[in-house]
């Protein structure tokens, strides 16, 4: 059984002959995205039950016109950590989606579909329920267990999908989906062990994908890990381009496929863990953002890395701002919002793929 996907959906196919496919100038796109990220941050900071205009924020930063005490409190203790966290979560999910889609040569792979987020969820639930006070090297037990769960699940899914030296992509996706569902749902059993009930509420909201208001050290750890993972992923981007030809072909071109694969899975799992430990279970963000990036830049992973990271941050900041404002004063989990945006998009991709399924 083989899957071939004709093309990533694009709006136009080039005419015959030497027409150049338009891909935008990388530098310009990145600069625009950085500017967009800045604007989005300001907009998110200002939006909410109490409106704080960007002008007031600038005035406080540059012209010594201090905000009121309430505004300061809202800005620095409530909104800023949350807005930054949503950016980190968005980048991490988008990058892990990019890595998994490239590695598994499949445009519908993402941390949720592949199962790594299920493992991270299980690990983090363990952490929330049993080890909420424990931490090492500044990382909470929740974050560490999320990483262990994520990496272990990837190893398991990958092992299940591999036979006779080949990875069957359909088996991989189905195994990932099954394991993801089992693990995500098994997290509910931890409620039984939690006598006090405080962990329950944390866990319940977290399973719906709520970006809470993280403590600063937690946010700093997440940001550091995101940075490290991005740097580590950089030299692997060219390898991902080669892996697009298939594992065996890549090996014939001199790539040590097993080594590259382990590295990519570890980095992808780390990114998933960062996202899950800060934002819980958020579907589809890791799936959609790489596609948006490909529409802008084409499929070259070297160019996709920064664009995907920036777009992911903007995307989730926007989603989280919407999630806490559209039904104000009540708030919906961003994970729920993403399910409603991402679900239809996933189905759209699936329909596009269906034509090129070959059995």
């Amino acid at each position: 059984m083989a899957i071939e996907i004709a093309t990533v959906p694009t709006t136009h196919a080039p005419a015959a002959g030497a027409t150049r496919r338009r891909s935008l100038a990388p530098l310009a796109v990145n600069l625009l995205l950085i500017a967009g990220l800045g604007l989005m941050t300001l907009a998110s900071l200002g939006t909410g039950a109490v409106h704080i205009s960007p002008r007031a924020i600038f005035a406080a930063m540059f012209w010594h016109q201090p905000l009121s005490e309430t505004e300061r409190l809202i800005l620095f203790h409530l909104r800023l950590p949350r807005v930054l966290a949503s950016g980190v979560v968005g980048s991490a999910l988008a990058l892990s989606g990019l890595l998994f889609q490239g590695l598994f040569r499949n445009p519908i792979a993402d941390p949720y579909v592949i199962g790594s987020s299920g493992g991270a969820t299980l690990g983090a639930s363990l952490g929330i329920t049993f080890f909420s006070q424990w931490s090492a090297f500044g990382f909470s037990a929740t974050a560490l267990l999320a990483f262990v769960g994520s990496a272990a699940t990837m190893a398991l899914v990958y092992g299940l999908a591999r036979s006779a030296g080949k990875t069957n992509v359909v088996t991989l996706l189905l195994a990932g989906f099954a394991i993801s569902t089992i693990f995500t749902n098994s997290s509910y059993f931890f409620e039984l062990f939690d006598k006090t009930g405080t962990g329950n509420r944390v866990l319940a909201s977290w399973l719906h994908g709520v970006i809470g208001i993280p403590a600063w050290p937690e946010l700093a750890a997440g940001t550091t890990l995101l940075g490290l993972a991005t740097v580590a992923a950089l030299p692997l981007m060219r390898t991902l381009n080669t892996l697009v030809l298939g594992d065996e072909y890549a090996q014939q071109l001199g790539i040590r496929v097993e080594v590259a694969r382990v590295a990519i899975i570890l980095i992808g799992s780390l990114l998933t863990a960062v996202a899950v430990s800060l934002g819980g279970v958020i579907f589809f963000a890791g799936l959609i953002v790489p596609h948006i990036a490909r529409l802008m830049m084409g499929p070259d992973h070297v160019r996709l890395l920064p664009v995907t990271a920036l777009t992911g941050a903007i995307f989730l900041m926007l989603a989280d701002t919407l999630a806490r404002t559209i039904f104000a004063p009540s708030e919906i989990p961003v994970g729920v919002l993403m399910a409603f945006v991402g679900g239809p998009f996933f189905l759209y991709l699936l329909r596009n793929m269906k034509r090129s399924y070959s059995v």
């Binding site: 899957i3 996907i5 990533v8 196919a13 445009p107 697009v244 071109l253 499929p299």
Partner: protein, 262 residues
């Protein structure tokens, strides 16, 4: 002439049954060889073993007299390129981006492609006559165009040995002739060729050596020789399990040998 690739009593098993038995042959630098045999007899397997993609169950593969398993992957990739039968890409890579992957064994992890890499890609595109397609999406090309792009990808590796798996498949007769011309040009450039060929008509005048893989029943699984020695009706009849009076090729060859005998 020195030995470029040597297989010595190579066996290979796939999921419990033996696909390849007692494969022994020697490819010299700059030689031009056709690999023929019935469907499923192990031609593709043999090519993959020759490319170092598969390890034989027993027996030894040597590249320039060194055991294949001791040579770094990158070094093999700079010497041997395999053009596969099928290539499917999950994303909308352009022809140029595909062919650039052929430079992988020359490019370090952090250093990007340099001038020599760009020149090699341009030359590969040029040789395979796909320069005009360089900005097209690979997945949108026709079968014949894809075939040439795959060859360009192999040539971008600047190999000493080019292995081709059914290169004339899906090509019309005009494109088949162009492909053969390209193979001859590459041979003249000093690149050794080993191509598995389905269409035996194309083998006779175009290759200097023929390797014939026979199915299990025969006691000589792999024989080699000149086209005149191998493409005899009696040999083909047995190797392909084809009644001699039923296929035009065999009838044709029988007449040819009768004429020569006279």
């Amino acid at each position: 002439m020195s030995s470029l690739l040597r297989l010595d009593d190579v066996h290979f098993d796939y999921q419990g049954h033996r696909v390849l038995r007692q494969a022994t042959f020697d490819l010299e630098e700059g030689s031009c060889t056709a690999l023929i045999g019935t469907n499923g007899v192990g031609k593709t397997t043999l090519l993959r073993i020759a490319a170092g993609a598969l390890r034989p169950a027993t027996g030894q593969v040597r590249m320039r007299e060194r055991p294949m398993e001791t040579i770094p992957l990158r070094e093999i990739a700079r010497t041997i390129a395999l053009v596969p039968q099928q290539l499917e890409l999950p994303f909308a890579f352009t022809v140029q981006q595909v062919v650039e992957q052929g430079r992988t064994p020359y490019i370090g992890m952090l250093r990007g492609p340099g001038r020599s890499d760009r020149l090699a890609v341009d030359r590969a595109l040029d040789l395979a006559d796909v320069s005009s397609l360089r900005h097209r999406i690979f997945n949108e090309l026709s079968g014949g165009e894809r075939q040439r792009v795959k060859i360009a990808l192999g040539l971008a590796q600047q190999p000493q040995l080019l292995l081709l798996d059914e290169p004339t498949q899906n090509l019309d007769i005009g494109r088949q002739v162009e492909l053969i011309d390209l193979l001859h040009f590459l041979r003249d450039e000093g690149i050794a060729i080993l191509a598995s060929m389905h269409d035996l008509h194309l083998v006779d005048k175009n290759f200097s050596t023929v390797l014939l893989l026979s199915p299990k029943e025969t006691n000589q699984p792999l024989i080699s020789g000149s086209p005149e020695q191998i493409l005899k009706p009696s040999i083909l009849e047995r190797a392909f399990q084809c009644p001699p009076d039923r296929h035009p090729l065999l009838i044709e060859r029988a007449e040819l040998y009768r004429k020569e005998a006279r």
